[in-house]
Subunit: 346 residues, 2 copies
Amino acid sequence: MVTIKDVAKMANVSPSTVSRVIADHKHISAETKERVRKVMKELGYHPNVIARSLIKRSSQALGLVLSRSTESAFSNPFFPEILRGISTVTQSHHYSLVLAAAENYQEEAKQYLRMLMEKRVDGVIILASRVNDELIQRLAEEEYPFVVVGRAQGIKEYTSVNNDNIQAAYLAVRHLLNLGNQRIAFLNGPEEYTFCQDRFQGYCMALREYGIEVNGDYVRNAENLQEDGYRLTKELMSIEPRPHALFAADDLMAIGAYRALKEEGLSIPDDVAVIGFNDNYLAAFMEPPLTTVRIPIYEMGVVAAQLIFHILQNKEACAQQRILSSQLIVRESCGAKRKFPELAGK
Amino acid sequence: MVTIKDVAKMANVSPSTVSRVIADHKHISAETKERVRKVMKELGYHPNVIARSLIKRSSQALGLVLSRSTESAFSNPFFPEILRGISTVTQSHHYSLVLAAAENYQEEAKQYLRMLMEKRVDGVIILASRVNDELIQRLAEEEYPFVVVGRAQGIKEYTSVNNDNIQAAYLAVRHLLNLGNQRIAFLNGPEEYTFCQDRFQGYCMALREYGIEVNGDYVRNAENLQEDGYRLTKELMSIEPRPHALFAADDLMAIGAYRALKEEGLSIPDDVAVIGFNDNYLAAFMEPPLTTVRIPIYEMGVVAAQLIFHILQNKEACAQQRILSSQLIVRESCGAKRKFPELAGK
DNA sequence: TGTAATTATGCAAACGTTAGCATAATATTT
DNA sequence: AAATATTATGCTAACGTTTGCATAATTACA
């Protein structure tokens, strides 16, 4: 392996000088810099990050764990997309990203802690937060650098990035209300996630604003997106009086719902309006194209990474919550474009 | 930070002894081991992987890069799934996984090389291989440890894991032929990937076996899965004589195809039989449920990781190609279950 | 009882960097 | 010309481990 010493020898300087050339230190003469750089190129030298990490007492890496349970609660391209956002930022900081996979929450927590304890990573990004999230609590107590994607709860100080779940759900439901739907069913995700709580809150807000009381029968929680989307829609459609519209907290649930509605001979949007969430890549291809909410996943990744670097740079950084706006994508599953053609371009 | 020295001091032994306790060295007395372990627990000591890596001259990590171009060529849950397979193996070896994201092939190659050159990782897993893959060529030349998921080309020695693309495509097309379809169109992915070449080869094999000549008009290459699936199906259906069946090299293309066929008023499978590839989580939910090929993604991840550890352990490991079998999932888009009800359980 | 083998532990060097201090050479000020 | 500031470089210790060699203590063997 070619080390800094080899370069030093060949360039007739000390290793320190080479190190300073790498860092582009100002007290190194232009000619030395040039000479050393030439030698580095010649020998194909690349600094060993491990050695650098050791002396800098920083692994120059961020940690991430992909949990099956979390992933299945999101519409599918979530993970690669947020990863990409995170990655662009880590790259520009010359950091790397350490990844682990876990089957469940217990394992997920263990992996996060291990990474941090073994100093494999300088900080972590938590990809979802639960209602009583022990991991987040623990990280906060032990003062590990972390940022959460989502909203944490029962924690005094933490930094996070999130989309505006309450507002987004509110706008989606209001969209349905504006189109004349009164009885709106809500297919929510697993209650344990804070983002599901938030979407439910937005749903309630909109209904109340229109003077409609929330009817518990119209609200269901799914564990498995597609299958439960199908099954719970069947259940909802057998309620008397039948809902006019359906708000699904994920497009995959809406796919299941579509199927159930078609089987029941109900037309979308004429008999039942449907609105989804997450703007899955299939939403535009559904029949009819699904109106849904697009959340800025990539951007959330970018911000999450920026926030953690902020924390790493000034230890006493003020905790902050960043909320990114979602966008209602009006397509044809609610009938809005027929009633209000001006929405078509939106 | 609590180091090995702190533990040593508190346990009244030398750091070497602590190190040996960690490694469960045999020449350490049982009582010392116990005492040291107790102190480690008390102090909350965890070995610093970075320091260990430095002296072991091994980063204890594997590298992976997620490229947008590659990802969009696969049906969606490919990446998380293979990652999970890889991760289980790396974990059992106490290795970590370093990840980067790239927008295109150039960047992807750069990232892989950088990881290796900076000694951030001991080896890499390449997630797809192209027809004239310069990265793979380079890795082979420079003798970096790597394994490719897929089939490489123009390389003398390399280790890989792949699914049986030729055989799988062959069986899929034969399935269509057995059901009486003669004119079979093929919606393939981008030609630059070797797996697309292979699927095409399987397609040809099946046709020839049935004495049918390959008709270039019936074969198309898509860049973008869904949109091209739709567009190219429209094109294919306007050919005279119209194909009896459609083999799509990815389920997402089949989704686009379904849409095109429905718009043309063609019924599946009565007018046109359709078969997909990859068993996307939506395939079973399509209308009619899509017959498709399931490839063992998770298992490929496991094997890929095992292979790279094999290489890392005995440098002169024999290059090997591992092929994993796919499985034809017969559903209702080819009409097989009506004609041959015994297939229904398969 | 003396020698050899085994068991248990410590010392010190090494892994490839970085950075504070020291020093030498040059430039700037008085 | 002397004093000072600036620029360019080297020496050395440090980061937290592991490990070969040395040594001491114990056990086994003859």
